[in-house]
Symmetry: C2
Subunit: 169 residues, 2 copies
DNA sequence: CCGTACTTTCGGGATAAACTGAAAGTATGG
DNA sequence: CCATACTTTCAGTTTATCCCGAAAGTACGG
């Protein structure tokens, strides 16, 4: 019985790690996140370290990252000196957090550069320059629209999924 | 003038590469894609190679990948022996292609495993096992819903962005 | 404040991914 | 069917990233 749980948990952690890798999240961070997700109670860095066979340093660094992302928070347990970590478990909130952070960290700077570049190429002459300007401007506009939609989508705390489902059907 | 174009183009290519990296696409592939995006005419592997200072092998491999993704296609130019490559330039179509491919390559397998793991932990007893089952099941359900929505979103060839905008406002 | 329990930092090593360049492969025009 | 122009493959190298573990740092309880 215990064994079945361990087996399922390992697969879950491995799969979460793989998904993370495909999206630019490192394996340790994804593993720690996965482990915390399925823990009924907050865990300490030491427990995670032993469970996932990661080094102390690695565990510490990635826990900090997860806290910075807002996916995990530190909780104080009365009468305990060490820190405990607790993951957000509600899928919609996890999703919203990730989308928000990625918009902020990656899309916003990219969009700024793109609009910069579009402006730089304004009014240049020649086939190449004209096509460049046309494409970059179009791309920037599209991304700006997507960002706006994404922001509204993740703007509300409660799930907009049901609403979306209605529209797209 | 020529110079301004070059400068803007370099920045665009670099930015596209950075964006790609953050999303698990390698830099060469993203650079080639960016270069083709802003080209008024189809380009050959050699032109790309010189322009981006990549090796022949790297260029060839990543062009093939881009074709496999459906973001670039080969076109025949009359009276020319070598192959020319042309990128899809419409932002909405690019977006749809990428979303479709990533759903298929990453989300689908992940969801399958997740549902597997959820089934494995069905009926196990104990706090840990019960929480595990609860969380994994919830997660799988959520992802299934998201996938369904995404599929519908990218199901139509023409942009659904306008429709979305209406709903989310 | 001192000792101890806990956490973070960081230089160096390991690993994996990306990239190169040359050789092998393919196909087309003459 | 040969020569040549072009493309792909692949073994080896480089590069970037991740990860380890020890040492330094921090703060709490007594």
């Amino acid at each position: 019985m215990e064994n079945k749980l361990h087996q399922a948990r390992s697969r879950f952690i491995a799969e979460w790690g793989a998904l993370g890798s495909a999206w630019g999240i490192n394996r340790s961070m994804a593993s720690i996140h996965a482990r915390l997700l399925v823990a009924p109670d907050p865990m300490t860095a030491d427990e995670l370290m032993d469970d996932l066979e990661l080094s102390r340093g690695n565990t510490s660094t990635n826990l900090r990252e997860l806290v910075a992302w807002g996916l995990v928070r530190q909780v104080a347990v009365k009468g305990e000196r060490r820190q405990f970590f607790l993951a957000e478990k509600e899928p919609w909130r996890i999703f919203v957090t990730i989308v928000r952070e990625r918009l902020r960290r990656e899309l916003d700077p990219a969009l700024e550069t793109l609009e910069d570049v579009a402006a730089m190429s304004e009014g240049l002459e020649g086939r190449e320059a004209e096509e460049f300007h046309r494409v970059v401007t179009g791309m920037a506009g599209f991304i700006r629209t997507v960002r706006g939609l994404a922001r509204r989508l993740v703007g509300s705390e409660s799930s907009t999924l049901a609403g979306l489902a209605r529209v797209l059907s």
